[in-house]
Symmetry: C2
Amino acid sequence: MQLIDGKAISMQIKQEIAAEVAEIKAKGGKVPHLAVIIVGHDGGSETYVKNKVLSCEQCGFKSTKIAFESDITEDELLAAIDKLNKDNDVDGFIVQLPLPKHISEQKVIEAIDYKKDVDGFHPINVGRTSIGLPAFVSATPAGILELLKRYNIETKGKNCVVIGRSNIVGKPVASLMMQKAYPGNATVTVCHSGTKNIKEICKEADIIIAAMGSPKFVTADMVKDGAVVIDVGTTRVPCAESKTGFKLTGDVDFENVAPKCSFITPVPGGVGPMTICSLMKNTLLAGKKEIYK
Amino acid sequence: MQLIDGKAISMQIKQEIAAEVAEIKAKGGKVPHLAVIIVGHDGGSETYVKNKVLSCEQCGFKSTKIAFESDITEDELLAAIDKLNKDNDVDGFIVQLPLPKHISEQKVIEAIDYKKDVDGFHPINVGRTSIGLPAFVSATPAGILELLKRYNIETKGKNCVVIGRSNIVGKPVASLMMQKAYPGNATVTVCHSGTKNIKEICKEADIIIAAMGSPKFVTADMVKDGAVVIDVGTTRVPCAESKTGFKLTGDVDFENVAPKCSFITPVPGGVGPMTICSLMKNTLLAGKKEIYK
């Protein structure tokens, strides 16, 4: 069994990005600039945004954090987005989710200029990813593919089972894994809450991508010997021994599943660090105008 | 075994549309207007366009056919598209594919205003379909779902195997069949040229959607008893006995597969007539501004 070290890979990728940015700078070019909008004081969101700003520093990017109180109106937020859309210095930006209930997340996602949508959530980027056109690919799915690539994991003709059909992980990762490309070219099955025979389906999988947010859902009896298991779950489970009072728990019963796997991602330290890393990569692409002019 | 009669269903739907259009007209409203651009003289394309114009008449729509010779430049075609984008009288329009090789189909698809893209090929409509937002759904996939609905075929929790991953059928129909909706909520597997164990996978399917364009690919030994089989294939196979010199042949070995099925679509007369019918439905939606304002 080989552990997939997302933390190490993400550090390596950030160093690669930093080297490229240094070169751009040396040639007198413009350093990529990421802006992050955060609304309110959700603990998880604040940590994520802090890490994103920190990652920008590590990559040599310029970053701007724009914080609003949770009583901001939808119109005010949309106006802030419009300002960033028009700001030529900003190459890409994101609005940290979730948002307060009085603001429509979908409206916010669609208000972002797709050419600056480095989270890859805008319908144009979702559609272009599905069609196989250059696009800002949603960060977590892109991170998963990058891990498969860096570990030279064969995907062609493999049975890949995706558990979960969310718009930000399940659906786009399924879409990528079925493309005629590497990583990809796999036979993809998408399972979800409506699936009846999930145990039997997983048992046939060469690659399992678990992304439904249900702690320890994937148990050893669902995994065949030699399978590759990618765990996207990060549920905060209360934990008395932890300083923070909780523990990030994946969708896979790691302890019992790991011994059966050829490759497996831990939680934390697997897919998690790759998500921010993909955001950095998308920002670099935005800065270089590689996806859109 | 029950035969799914796409021809009858499509006639019924066109009558429903015609009734709605008559009502719109009676109330002094604007009749939906579809424009169709055709380039060159491909026999298949000319037949399709003729049938689309005829269907517009049956539905009570206004239609405009714009024909160009195959030596039209890409820029000239893009200019014609731009004109239709700006023409307030035109609610929706399509450019009949395939196009001559010197014209980029992708560029043409993306040049169409997504709010008039009644073929549902624009990345925004593809992305919105995947996300589950209101969209012009690609015509063939929409037609397949309509057939499942009209025959009250249960899809929830069923194993649905899609063979083929084209951008206009395989991928979008897979996307629709996994949505939490009816028809949909199925466990979806997408098979393609890279799939190794396609026979075994099909054998487990409750619903098979065959859309790879390989005549009689799906044989009786790949289908379990009681399965629902939807045949999207329409390959022109030479045939001496036919007036036209060819015969439309599906992806399913109908003669031997049909006796095992609970429901099956014939070729021709199954999915085919539904595709134009979905285009008419999208045009009605465009005319009523139900998807986009």
